[in-house]
Symmetry: C2
Subunit: 185 residues, 2 copies
């Protein structure tokens, strides 16, 4: 069974995106944090994304600007296998993308049962809610950012049952970001 982890940046008021859907507020120039993100991207995993996150990333990572600004992360993002969840048929242009066929959560359950590397969900807050509710997420990785957004898209919206987690790692950065890793309790 492939392990499925979710990686989300969070504001202190529990948002994964601002009211306009933006995630610029989660960015940090802290070199230690940048190295941490680059090490994560260097791994041999696959990515799973909802349509909104996918379109945002597909517009950035293949660009020349991204290659210059974050060469290691860009190389990893462009090379990794990517699974796209979308209600409508799409023709994804970002290299190594496959659109998942079938409805959630069954499509993801099937994907986890196939041979292949572990899978990380990037952003994709509504996807995380659905898959967490179905018990399909094996690990949650949050980056708690040092700000209150005062409005935005709340994490775990629509989740119906409480979810007890177990903290397995915590680490703070000079930028004030705090990385927290959990698995279902």
């Amino acid at each position: 069974m492939r392990k499925l982890s979710a990686f989300l940046s969070l504001s202190l008021d529990g948002c994964f995106a601002d009211a306009a859907g933006g995630v610029d507020w989660a960015h940090s120039d802290d070199p230690e944090f940048q190295r941490f993100v680059a090490d994560n991207a260097r791994g041999g995993g696959a990515l799973l994304m909802g349509r909104v996150t996918y379109e945002m990333m597909a517009a950035w990572w293949p660009s020349e600007a991204a290659r210059q600004m974050s060469p290691v992360v860009a190389e990893g993002m462009n090379r990794m296998p990517k699974y796209l969840v979308s209600h409508r048929p799409r023709n994804p242009e970002w290299a190594h993308t496959v659109q998942l066929a079938g409805a959630l959560p069954e499509a993801v359950r099937a994907l986890k049962g196939e041979a292949g590397p572990d899978i990380a969900i990037l952003g994709s807050g509504s996807l995380v809610s659905q898959l967490a509710g179905a018990g399909l997420i094996d690990e949650f990785q949050f980056v708690v950012c040092p700000l209150v957004l005062a409005g935005g898209r709340k994490v775990f919206e629509g989740l119906e049952d409480a979810l007890a987690l177990q903290l397995t790692e915590s680490r703070s950065f000079a930028s004030g970001q705090v990385f927290l890793r959990y698995r279902p309790a």
Copy 2:
């Protein structure tokens, strides 16, 4: 000027209370965490609370059960000066309570200007939103609990402007709770 800090337990979906207003989910038997809370209560500060939090605490801390279960914290809670914020006149029975006169945020601004010990807001999520919006909170202390409540009272609800913070301390406990301390950036 007296320093005003806010102390709130948070779920991973950004709630300070569950849908019924309860905070039992934030409780931990972890002895290290208990010691940490007891050390906090041992300090010589004053407390500021909204009506809901006040009534919950006033029903518990003076009780014989509280004295037996958490003697150090109970002694501190009962001894400390307490300020109650409520729209209606009350006749608070918990020892050392004064109801703040006048409207927010002016009443709290005036209180900070008086002589006296530093002040901690316990719980009181809507009070925290109002006072944070008025720039009156000098420090935020959050205990991030290892669970997703899936519904409840969201922290910083009603806050109109984003609030940038600076992380000054982070500490995790074996229970999975993570203590995060911030000041306004």
